[in-house]
């Protein structure tokens, strides 16, 4: 199974959901499939699930999707019990387990040694956590999670070393990505996130 294929399979189902992407190739792949200001590229390894959780808790009527990885989730494994406790019903947590630190030299992660991310999630108290067995099954589970409206984690074992260097560049600077993402949320939700300077500034 390839991550790119999984992402392509759910692109339409994601619709206009806000998507937080982990550090690494997932962001470039997702941005090639669904470009736009509704995607935030995380810059702290592991924090994707936490940023997505905060966003989902703040915007309870908006679907939020986290694109997580094995290295990231292992680094921030304490997010799992916190997610189990908060269980934001509008958050779908997708975990692509390729067994390596993809963007930092393809060295193995602990999942190659048998650490099972879905068992970890269940052990942390997460009720809806599963492995997807194929791209079709991944899409099915994604749509089940959407209908369920309960926090769900869907993991997929994917090939290591997918080549994403030929994909279009993300195209915006890191801080610009954050501002465009926030302005996008302002328009979607009709709220003000970043205040504009007043006339006396």
């Amino acid at each position: 199974m390839r991550r790119y294929g999984c992402l392509q399979a759910i692109a339409e189902d994601v619709g206009d959901a806000l998507v937080i992407c982990t550090v690494g190739g997932a962001a470039a792949q997702w941005n090639a499939i669904r470009p736009g200001d509704g995607n935030l590229r995380c810059r702290t390894l592991g924090l994707v699930s936490s940023i997505a959780m905060g966003l989902a808790l703040a915007l309870q009527n908006r679907m939020v999707v986290a694109l997580d990885g094995d290295g990231a989730l292992l680094m921030n494994a304490c997010a799992l019990p916190t997610l189990a406790c908060q269980r934001p019903g509008n958050l779908i947590h997708l975990v692509f387990d390729n067994g390596v630190y993809e963007s930092s030299g393809l060295r193995p992660t602990a999942t190659l040694n048998g650490a099972d991310l879905v068992e970890m999630a269940r052990g942390a108290g997460i009720k809806h956590a599963c492995w997807a067995s194929s791209v079709e099954n991944f899409k099915q589970e994604f749509n089940k999670a959407k209908e369920r409206k309960a926090y769900s984690l869907i993991a997929a074992k994917v090939e290591a070393g997918e080549d994403y260097r030929e994909l279009p560049a993300f195209g915006v600077a890191e801080v610009e990505n954050a501002y465009r993402f926030m302005r996008h949320i302002e328009k979607l939700e009709g709220i003000r996130v970043v205040p504009l300077p007043g006339p006396r500034h």
Binding site: L40, S50, G54, L57, T82, V175
Partner: protein, 168 residues
């Protein structure tokens, strides 16, 4: 006996400053404040397993329109340094850091932690205010929140035993 005056004044100041989303990890000296935060219906409270995740949760909540704070010990602040740098500072995210100052002057224990706290905050470029007097709680927390939002950066308020009602 733990005093309730300081913690209840801190809670009121947070609410007056517009803070409506709080993440936290306990310290003995923060127990009363966290009890008040947890009970307050105007605040969304997310208890953490590690402080660094709290920086991410606050960052996400801010992007969703909330005004956020994290309540933690200074050891937890040290746990949060990468997230503060590569998420909060990198993305211009304001968060009010309410940090219990372990190893403060007059304390027994945690002196190593106390000695690095302010230098590390300065190293990160995070402005920091030490709260020692009850009468300064309101203005300091309100001012720190305004400064965080206006500078679009985290701002730290160090909570001493004096204001938490824990000084023996």
């Amino acid at each position: 006996m733990a005093g309730e005056t300081g913690p209840s004044m801190i809670l009121e100041a947070m609410k007056e400053a517009g803070i409506n989303f709080v993440t936290s990890l306990p310290d003995h000296n923060l127990a009363k404040l966290l009890e008040f935060v947890d009970k307050d219906p105007d605040l969304k409270h997310v208890p953490l397993c590690r402080e660094e995740e709290g920086i991410g949760i606050c960052a996400g909540a801010y992007m969703g329109g909330k005004t956020t704070a994290i309540i933690m010990q200074n050891g937890g602040f040290l746990n949060s340094c990468n997230a503060l740098t590569t998420t909060a500072l990198n993305f211009n995210i304001p968060i009010v850091l309410l940090i219990y100052y372990a190893g403060d002057i007059g304390d027994e224990g945690f002196s190593t932690l106390g000695s690095v706290t302010e230098p590390v905050l300065q190293g990160l470029g995070i402005r920091c205010y030490v709260l020692r007097k009850l009468e300064e709680i309101r203005a300091t927390i309100k001012g720190a929140t305004t400064l965080a939002i206006d500078s679009r950066r985290p701002v730290a308020v160090l909570l001493t035993k004096d204001v938490l009602g824990m000084r023996r």
